[in-house]
Amino acid sequence: MTDMSRLPTPEQASEAASGSVLSLRGISKHFPIRAGALQRVVGHVRAVDGVSFDIRPGETLGLVGESGCGKTTLGRLASGLLSPTSGGSYFNLDTAALSKLNAAYALPEDARAAALAPLEAAHGIATMPKAAQSRFRRNCQMVFQDSFSSLNPRHLVIDIVGRPLRVHKEASGEALTERVVELLEQVGLGRQHLYRYPHQFSGGQRQRISIARALALDPELIILDEPTSALDVSVQAQILNLLNDLQAERNLAYLFVTHDLSVVEHMADRIVTMYLGRVVEAGPTRTLFDAAAHPYTRALIAAKPDLAVDDPQVAKFAALDGSIPDPARPPRGCHFHTRCPVATPNCGWELDDIVRLLERSEDLFESLSDVSRHSDFAGELAFEDEGSAERLAQALRSDATPASMRSAMESLTVDGRTLRVRFQEVGEVQLSDRGPDHIAACVIKDA
């Protein structure tokens, strides 16, 4: 994921003249899978795999995707709670620094390090000086999904909300109490709540306490990880209104991680769609909802039940087939091709897709004895008997196999008990420009 064609072009970057609060460039987080008595690393789950985007001051960036697509991990990477496997995150870039950063990433890999060095030293979260790091931590706060587990049950509200102030030596004693009261009043609570424990509050009130804690140090960016998914609609509306009021008052930037498209449509200025650890589409909210370029974004939007649709019968459920593939072995080419309704032969069909087909059929999978791969795209499947190999070959040539997969097969021969297959080789699908500030990773260009 070194290709940086996904980055905004220089003229687009100048449109957003105010720079960025937080810029992520090619950020990845791979979790090792350990097995055996010695806990050897046998593979990696690519939770986040080469993601780049900017969060501009005062904007709300929505991050959407199904569960398991890496959006929570990305939120934690952005807030610095997790350190990335590779890639960099840069804090508080003005316009000049941002264009320098984009220029550096446009360079070939070997020349990049030198160009990046001054930026890394001043803005890179992992590399900046201690004082700057502490400034970053003050300015980037997080609100978690589950307010039960993110508030210490043995602490009073005054301790929870006052903690950041104490840590950063902002206030103490009487002044601290007054600051906490002020914060609680901003989120719709009051002085009477100071000496209570989290369990004495309802879900909505607890989420307000979380928000008050995030606001304590007057940050520039708050990362909201599904802040309303545990709440009822009426309470959700209260919290969303509160977040909007606070944003207007303090020019806050939000990274809004959620799976609820109605909420993200309501809240976000721009949306980033993720699938299996990668960004598949990013763009302004209205553009994405009116003319999404990636079939996955379209499927997500179509699956969202909308109350505003006047005739619910007209809006038929558009459902996706299958489930998310194993992130430890993501599909080649476009990750989404296994479930895509408009897949083409160039989407990255591979040997694993045959295995996925086999898993659905009752007896063929049982008689599969060996798979030998020459590459991900070519290999041999050995069966216990000739009949099974022949039957699979027939199934692969018939309508049971998607048409695009059939035409992606360059050769398919049965040789006794083995079946030789070769698919056409395709590279990774890169993000490409689709309009102002709108990028998508799909082989179909004019969708």
Binding site: H266, F317, E362
Partner: protein, 437 residues
């Protein structure tokens, strides 16, 4: 439940349109702070073959109402304080054998005739001629026969509702062993008239009443083992068919796997297969898609809809998600603080809401039309239901509150045909005169 031909025609003429009716249901819970009135006088009917949505916020008593149908409430601390849940079980239509004919309106089922009057109509069945059971009063044994067979439940979190120590096949098989052991024996070729140890052991094995000696004999004695295996085979066929119906690919493999090996959507499909296994008359779906992604949710809702249309069963769909309820329900009941505040056809509720709470709930859902930061939130939160005062429960959050609201309880009454609201704004008459009428 065998019935003669004459009974069939008698029951047909007075076929009731409702399959279940809840009247004045009260479920209270004992707590340190006092008696919590979780459900406090709920009335509604479930019509035959419809999907009734039960919506409301957390703690409004919608799940407790659903569970009261199956008496799946912890007693104590729960107290079934009053009211009734009348249920009319159905049998497959005698005229067509479940295929669907003119006599049963194409649904393939019709009400079970009342055992006291043989379908002629008597005080026991309120003159309908259909067997009517009060689910709150039937014996535990009878309740056990109803659970999973006539009324089934789909739970919210399939991760918690499935037993992690049993394979999918083992837990799905229990439904058949409990309710369909006669059919299983018949399919395995074991005659119902047969007697002796072998037949007895097989019957006990097929009904989960097996003793240690039965299991030992089935393991060691070849003739019994063979016949036990054929029962097992019949059971496996049924499980695979039930799983296959919920569009699970390769059901025989899934049967052998444990719940943790399946994805959330798959697990929910297993739950649905389990609920639909015995072709129940009433399915209570308690937020079946809350734990799922939108893309999977769409599939599951589609599946429930298809299966319901095919079988003609009724569904009570409990949810807090108004947009989902709008899509799949025929009628909607809005609950607040243990009461039904508004009930009506889906169109009536969503296009012409009358109760301020329903209006508030609908306005609180973010849609394309609402401008940012302008969501109409309902101030405050759901009240504590400890010993509530006789007043409208919504009074302290309502924007249009007036004197009558705090003085007495509003009663659910009609504003339009089929559309009832409990609000003094719609029914300004004082409740005293209403009670006198």
């Amino acid at each position: 439940m065998s019935i003669s031909k004459t009974d069939t025609t008698g029951a047909q003429t007075v076929a009731p349109a409702t399959i279940a009716s809840v009247r004045g249901l009260k479920v209270h819970f004992r707590s340190k702070a006092g008696r919590v009135h979780a459900v406090d006088g709920v009335d509604f009917d479930v019509r035959d073959g419809e999907t009734l949505g039960l919506v409301g916020e957390t703690g409004c008593g919608k799940s407790v109402t659903g569970r009261a149908f199956l008496r799946l409430l912890p007693v104590p601390p729960g107290i079934l304080a009053g009211g009734s849940v009348m249920f009319r079980p159905q049998t497959s239509c005698g005229g067509c054998g479940g295929e669907g004919c003119a006599q049963c309106g194409g649904s393939g089922r019709r009400p079970t005739p009342c055992p006291t009057c043989r379908g002629q109509g008597c005080p026991d069945c309120q003159g309908t001629g259909a067997e009517t059971l009060d689910l709150l009063k039937v014996s535990d044994k009878q309740m056990r026969g109803i659970r999973g067979d006539r009324i089934a439940m789909i739970f919210q979190d399939p991760g918690k509702a499935l037993n992690p120590t049993l394979t999918i096949g083992e837990q799905l098989g229990e439904v058949f062993l409990q309710h369909r052991s006669v059919d299983l024996l018949e399919e395995a070729g074991i005659d119902s008239g047969e007697s002796g140890f072998q037949a007895g052991a097989l019957r006990r094995l097929a009904g989960q009443r097996d003793r240690r000696t039965d299991r030992m004999a089935a393991a060691l004695w070849p003739p019994l083992r063979r016949r036990a295996q054929s029962v097992r085979q019949a059971l496996d066929n049924r499980i695979a068919a039930a799983l296959g119906e919920t569009q699970i690919p390769n059901p025989r493999n899934i049967m052998r796997s444990y719940p943790h090996e399946l994805s959330g959507g798959m697990r929910q499909r297993v739950m649905i297969a389990q609920a639909l296994a015995c072709d129940p008359d009433l399915i209570i779906a308690d937020e079946p898609t809350t734990a799922l992604d939108v893309t999977v949710q769409a599939r599951i809702l589609d599946l429930i809809g298809q299966l319901q249309a095919k079988r003609g069963s009724s569904v009570i769909y409990i949810s807090h998600d108004l947009s989902v309820v709008r899509r799949i329900c025929d009628r909607v009941a809005v609950m607040y603080a243990g009461r039904v505040v508004e009930i009506g056809e889906t169109d009536q509720i969503f296009n012409d809401p009358r109760h301020p709470y329903t209006k508030g709930l609908l306005a609180a859902v973010p849609t394309t039309r609402t401008p940012r930061g302008k969501l109409a939130a309902i101030p405050g939160s759901v009240p504590e239901l400890v010993d509530p005062k006789p007043s409208c429960r919504f009074a302290d959050r309502c924007a249009q509150v007036h004197a009558a609201c705090t003085a007495s309880d509003p009663i659910l009454s009609a504003v339009n045909p089929g559309h009832d609201v409990a609000c003094f704004l719609e029914h300004p008459t004082s409740p005293k005169t209403e009670a006198a009428e």
